[in-house]
């Protein structure tokens, strides 16, 4: 510090000059401060003296509160008008923690008047941790008339506690549709920030809930509607006396799904207590007819905030009911991959339908032996038979000729390994293996042997049941591909005007008609004389299917997989894809039964039930 003061002559003089500059600058800032404060004072005077009359009148008129009038959320129904999500008016008992001293003691006193369960208490505690203390939070929902009367009589004893009429969301079908519709939940901080960024926060004044999952989340903008404004006269205590004028809210639009509730229920029930997923699509439109993931959960638990214990049970269940298997579960497709492999081989000219070979039941690549699931092979096998009897060896050899690049290119065009863009949030992309993918994921080069596993739908392949269903629908529809969509149309709540969701096809794949015919004929053969012939005996319609089995644990070389020897959770997954009627497809289905073993035994019968119901109206 002393350096500058007693240092060299020029520095000393410069330091003095800098100090002089500082003083002058300080003076400038002082003047600046005074000027700015003068601006403030001037504005005060303008508002408080010159404009006082005007603002005084406004403040007096401000006995008129401008209150948001939240819109009714759009309802969701199935294709036959069955209600899947609707609103009802109910009364809640709400506490504003900031107006109350000891909240716990208050709840204790309240519980003498209305019933408050431990679940209610836990949920309230959770809510108040997530909310600001001046927000009004429900301690009890759905008060009975009796309870309302009892509380109203003693209302004066409970400042900070109010009864409010609110619209509630209810999902009458419960767990049947939770993986499709999702649910709404209370708006949290993250939602607020998102709404603020999108410039929609004002439209959510007065709204407590927002779509958190599924269709409820995907169509949030459509379902929510536009908030209106009520001009309400209030008394000196701030209570509303009467409504003076209102800009009514515009109710959210209603959604009508492609799904048929009874088909959905039938498919859901067909799984029994097995874990799995099923997606049924109308090939000509991409409309989703059924969308099942089991086990499931009750979405109504989430609407007013789930209590911690129920949440823990759902989260920790080994059956993972919160996992949307159809949308976000990814599985190797097993032999259901073969029809697509065959079509790829024809498209790239690597096989003709007639080309065949004597199947020995194994294939050597270098010094590695790939085995067929049938010891000794299937005899003479051409393309048709390779699908009908599900020959592995045929595809081992084909894999080698086709190469991973062609496989990846073809499968990606059918939509494998990419999000389908379905109108349910939370979709997984799955994995379509390729050279580039492996380099990126593992930093290693591709091995020829890996192509062989990929060709029969094992190895790195991993797709959602939804992708498999969409691909089956595209195949059934001769390569005209639609984005799968559960919502058929959006219906304006007032005018009833309908806006269809997905009228135009996504893309048309340039497949040769004859090639398609070969593959489709073979899939018909599967259900007539092949692996699932017995399941479809006497169906009364022609269907085209393919069974699949995907390995959960790797079977070592020289070992045999014997189902009864492995633990249930390590058993193979059973898969099945099918469309019908074969000559004019109206429905395409893909499904998986986790740890179900062989595809024809546990998966195909579920598909048969679904087709029987959808095409013939047969139940059970």
């Amino acid at each position: 510090m002393a350096k500058s003061l007693f240092g060299g002559g020029t520095e000393f003089r410069d330091a003095q000059r800098e100090q002089a500059i500082f003083k002058r600058r300080l003076l400038v800032l002082s003047v600046f401060v005074v000027l700015m404060f003068a601006v403030l004072a001037g504005r005060f005077a303008f508002l408080q003296v010159a404009q006082h009359e005007h603002f005084h009148t406004l403040a007096e008129a401000n006995r008129i509160a401008i209150l948001p009038a939240p819109p009714a959320r759009g309802t969701i129904t199935d294709r036959n008008g069955v209600e899947l999500a609707h609103n009802y008016t109910g009364h809640t008992l709400e506490i504003t923690p900031s107006k109350v001293g000891d909240v716990d003691a208050l709840i204790e006193r309240l519980s003498e008047i209305v019933e408050i369960t431990t679940r209610d208490r836990r949920r309230f505690k959770q809510l108040s941790e997530e909310s600001k203390s001046f927000e009004s939070l429900p301690i009890r929902n759905r008060l009975s008339d009796d309870e309302i009367a009892r509380f109203a009589a003693r209302r004066y004893q409970f400042p900070g506690v109010e009864i409010k009429a609110r619209l509630f969301r209810h999902y009458p079908q419960g767990e049947l549709f939770s993986h499709v519709i999702g649910y709404i939940g209370r708006i949290n901080k993250k939602d607020v920030e998102r709404l603020d960024e999108a410039g929609e926060l004002a439209n959510y004044r007065g709204t407590d809930h927002i779509g958190k999952m599924g269709v409820e989340q995907h169509y949030e903008r459509v379902l929510h509607g536009t908030t209106g404004v009520d001009r309400v006269e209030i008394d000196s205590a701030g209570r509303a006396v009467r409504v003076l004028s209102r800009t009514p809210p515009v109710a959210g639009a209603n959604l009508v799904l492609n799904i048929d509730t009874s088909l959905q229920a039938l498919a859901f029930k067909a799984f029994g207590n097995r874990r799995g997923a099923l997606v049924a699509i109308e090939p000509k439109t991409g409309g989703v007819l059924a969308f099942v993931s089991t086990p499931s959960f009750d979405p109504n638990l989430f609407v007013e905030g789930i209590d911690p214990q129920s949440w823990k049970e759902l989260r920790d269940s080994p059956d993972r009911p919160m996992l949307n298997r159809a949308l976000a579960g990814t599985y190797p497709p097993g032999s259901t991959f073969k029809p697509f492999m065959a079509l790829a081989a024809l498209t790239y000219g690597k096989r003709t339908p007639q080309q065949g070979f004597a199947d020995p039941g194994y294939f050597w690549l270098g010094n590695h032996q790939f085995r067929d699931s049938v010891v000794g092979g299937h005899g003479w096998v051409d393309m048709h038979k390779s699908i009908v009897v599900s020959s592995d060896t045929y595809y081992y050899i084909l894999a080698n000729d086709l190469g991973i690049d062609n496989i990846a290119k073809f499968m990606s065009s059918v939509g494998f390994g990419a999000r389908s863009g379905i109108d349910i949030t939370g979709e997984a992309a799955g994995t379509l293996p390729s050279r580039e993918w492996k380099k990126k994921r593992f930093g290693r080069d591709w091995f020829a042997g890996e192509t062989v596993s990929v060709s029969i739908g094992q190895g790195y392949n991993s797709y959602t049941p939804l992708q498999l269903a969409a691909a089956t629908a595209t195949l059934a529809n001769d390569g005209v591909m639609f984005r799968p969509h559960v919502v058929d149309y959006i219906e304006d709540a007032r005018t009833q005007a309908r806006t269809p969701v997905e009228p135009a096809p996504l893309r048309r794949l340039d497949w040769d008609r004859e090639h398609l015919a070969v593959v489709k004929r073979a899939m018909v053969g599967v259900n007539i004389s092949g692996t699932s012939a017995r399941v479809f005996a006497g169906a009364g319609y022609t269907s085209a299917g393919k069974t699949g089995t995907s390995q959960v644990i790797a079977i070592k070389q020289g070992e045999r997989y014997v189902e009864s020897w492995v633990a249930e959770r390590h058993r193979d997954h059973a898969l099945f894809i099918v469309y019908a009627p074969a000559e004019d497809p109206k429905i395409a289905v893909a499904l998986i039964v986790e740890n179900g073993g062989f595809g024809a035994r546990s998966a195909a019968p579920i598909a048969r039930k679904v087709l029987d119901y959808y095409l013939l109206g047969k139940e059970g």
């Binding site: 510090m1 500058s4 020029t10 520095e11 000393f12 410069d14 330091a15 800098e18 100090q19 500059i21 500082f22 003083k23 600058r25 300080l26 800032l29 002082s30 401060v33 005074v34 700015m36 404060f37 601006v39 403030l40 004072a41 504005r43 005060f44 005077a45 508002l47 408080q48 003296v49 404009q51 006082h52 005007h54 603002f55 005084h56 406004l58 403040a59 007096e60 401000n62 006995r63 509160a65 401008i66 948001p68 900031s98 107006k99 001293g101 203390s133 901080k189 993250k190 607020v192 920030e193 998102r194 603020d196 960024e197 410039g199 926060l201 004002a202 004044r205 908030t227 209030i234 701030g238």
Partner: protein
Amino acid sequence: MIAYYLRRAGRAFAANIDGPLLGGVLLLMAAGLVALYSASNAGWGRMSGQIINMLVALTVLWVAAKVPPHYLMRIAVPVFAVGIVLLIAVALRGEVVNGARRWLNIGITRIQPSELMKIAAPLMLAWYFHRYEGTLKLRNFALAGLILMVPAVLILRQPDLGTALLILGSGGFVIFLAGLPWKIIAGFALAALASAPVVWSMMRGYQRQRVLTLLDPSQDPLGAGYHTIQAGIAVGSGGWTGKGWLNGTQTHLDFIPERTTDFIFAVYAEEFGLLGSLVLLALFLLVIFRGLMIAANAPTTFTRLLAGAITMSFFTYAFVNMGMVIGILPVVGVPLPLISYGGTSLVSLCLGLGILMSIQTHRKLMNS
């Protein structure tokens, strides 16, 4: 004997306290509590919290006043360096809260390094100009500008435009006071004007909305415009002498949003009118002018610049907040110094005011 020790202890306790500054601070805090009591509907919940906040903040002030300025000079560079490292850590692996990456989890708790920068940036620049005292060239100013840009850009990218501007402001005051030539200042002013359209195109939707709302509050009556409209009515309806304590209709009928925090001035102005508002302005002027006086009397370049920057930051907060409430500035989240409810801002303001007192009371020691 006991009386002697008590007197000595009392003197030691008050040794580094600057009377006029403390007087201004306490009066402002008192005004804040009066307004807060009304704003919280005569409830004690927030009052007791705020009183505790004030006691903590005053303790911080007292400790800061005891720390001699040469010690601050020693830690200026390390503190700034730590601040930068933390900001980079935030950019790389900070936690995203409400869509912005501002927080850093350090195991025990989460911290917001941009708060630290509010004091670290002027500290660093004051140290820098002190270091080159007597030999200041244009390139020193350029380098100082660069030093300031580092934290500002890091914070801007979080994104946190408000804090970035406040830090640019406090650092800018240091550079201005150090003697940045007027010609360059004029150049910057012109460049700023010319780049306004570019800035506009880079702003996010909600930021633009706030500016547009300032021009025409009625455009957005349920959103940000609502705040401006209702705060304006509250202030204007206060008249000459106000509606009286606890009698503000705007306040008590729930028309003023955020009335204990950012919009507390609307509560005050409604109930105490133009006279009360001018008294409050006078109290702010008292603190600011005492701070500028301390800066003028400070013995070294470091303490001069630091005192000037702290004081001008205090002014900026007060001006921006009141300007926002009365509708001449856009709605930004800046609390009214020493008045608004909230611990963080109280503590960081009192830290700065404590440093001012330290500069004032240690100046003889340094001169000798």
